[in-house]
Symmetry: C2
Subunit: 328 residues, 2 copies
Amino acid sequence: MSLIVPVILCGGSGTRLWPLSRPARPKPFLPLIGEATLFEAALARVSDPALFAAPLVVTGAGLFELVESQAPGGHVIVEPAARNTAPAIALAAQRLPPDTVMLVCPSDHHIADIPAWLAAVVRARTLAEKGFLVAFGIAPTRPETGYGYIERGAPEGEGYRIARFIEKPPLADAEAYLSSGGFSWNGGIFMFRAGNFLEELARYRPEMAKAVADPAGFEAIAGESIDYAVMEQTSRAAMVEADMGWSDIGNWQSLRDARAAEADAQGNVVRGAADLIDCRKVMVQSDGPRVSVVGLEDVIVVVDGGEVLVTSAAGAANVGKLKGAKGE
Amino acid sequence: MSLIVPVILCGGSGTRLWPLSRPARPKPFLPLIGEATLFEAALARVSDPALFAAPLVVTGAGLFELVESQAPGGHVIVEPAARNTAPAIALAAQRLPPDTVMLVCPSDHHIADIPAWLAAVVRARTLAEKGFLVAFGIAPTRPETGYGYIERGAPEGEGYRIARFIEKPPLADAEAYLSSGGFSWNGGIFMFRAGNFLEELARYRPEMAKAVADPAGFEAIAGESIDYAVMEQTSRAAMVEADMGWSDIGNWQSLRDARAAEADAQGNVVRGAADLIDCRKVMVQSDGPRVSVVGLEDVIVVVDGGEVLVTSAAGAANVGKLKGAKGE
């Protein structure tokens, strides 16, 4: 069986981890969990030479130096412009022999359970080799309204057909999905043969499929995600279920939760100088100044680059609305 | 009627407003409410020349320069050592003619209602001129367990005799006092003739009364408050009731409450650079760095001198336990 080619997507910016993540130092390149950056961890997850070929990293010109510094000697494809995931994946696919099985992964997610991850990869490969375009369905742990969902269809080999994709749902729907057991989060991880992806792209987005072949055309593409452009259209969509401690580290609350291994007996997580009295589930992160916290629960304090952020865990989703996060 | 001599006590330190208040910059000398410092406001409250003579300030050697800078040309008595309020008041009393009515005031409290304050002063004077040692009984607004209480006794002129002094009570007692209506907070404000005070001090603390007369003796005094040494002992204790928007600004919560005039429609109070989203009753004070707060209620954030404090309003009473507040 031939090796899987990992394609690591390393773009985007995101402001919800402000003030830590900034345009010049985006989320994939920060050591958010443990010592490694999320990008380094993404590479490490696909480093078993019995399973994976050398990875391809797709990134923007602005991040090229950061990518090179954390993945020296890797194969890097620089996008002519940022046009969302469908064109980025096509850039990689058209460089590979059509039979190559590609594993498409974001570079800014966290996966706690590596054996479960590898088991899902192996299951997904059996479907990809049958010509399916395979999504990884993340076992949901809460009625999250910020993610897309995948509804499980009929069994298919080591996975399932996909009954439907669901955009970010209202809370009542998310709660129903969670209790039904037939729904997964769409974690943005996909596997397919390069040729199958390009065929389906040409079928459903013929202009995009042509445009990605030349740099001038690429810039003119209307950006679109792989979900919209291909996965929701194709009749060859399948999924594997993956219960692997996944988190997109989408905001400070999910980062705190993903740092459970660093928490003390009261659930407090501290990086940097801090002094906590009567606190529970408080996270402090400081690049220098001491942070003293008294009598709080479920609060996150971040001091970085002369900015001070204090947010409730529940409010973390709104950090991107702050003036500082918007660069004001 | 002769003028009242204000005696402003300007000592102590206090750590509960850390990191703003520090040994070199104690609470009376900070502009906590409005533009003036608490010390300047204390002087301004006794500045009506129809009622008050020039004030005497009693302070320690370490604070002399701060006192001079904020009260240029005032009469300052420097204590040989910090020995609590009874010896400090005696130092001032022995410099005054025995018939002089003294008004003893802390320098680090806030009084919002100046007309009510002056009315209480005028009532207290009538009792002081009859030879009573008069305490100002502050109208309580909550079952505070951090203050001493005074129980009202029989009517006496424009005030009352004092039935008893009560030390910091348990919560159940404080609640009973509040609902009874017959109890006041002991705000540490007193009025009496200098001679009457010294007579009662000599009666109940004869060694202290002798020792305050010479500097070497002063240092050997066991420090004691006027409450213990005199007011709780004397049979000439009286009180006037005072409902005057008083606060001892004892911690960050009471400072936030005393800054009600600075609050926005959501009850947030901001000094310095701040950006608040979905906040209620949050106070931010920063000496420079921007403070961004999301989704919190009843939380206080202070950035000063490179220290960051985040406390719940209820936790503010424990700020003094922080390492930073203890100088560690």
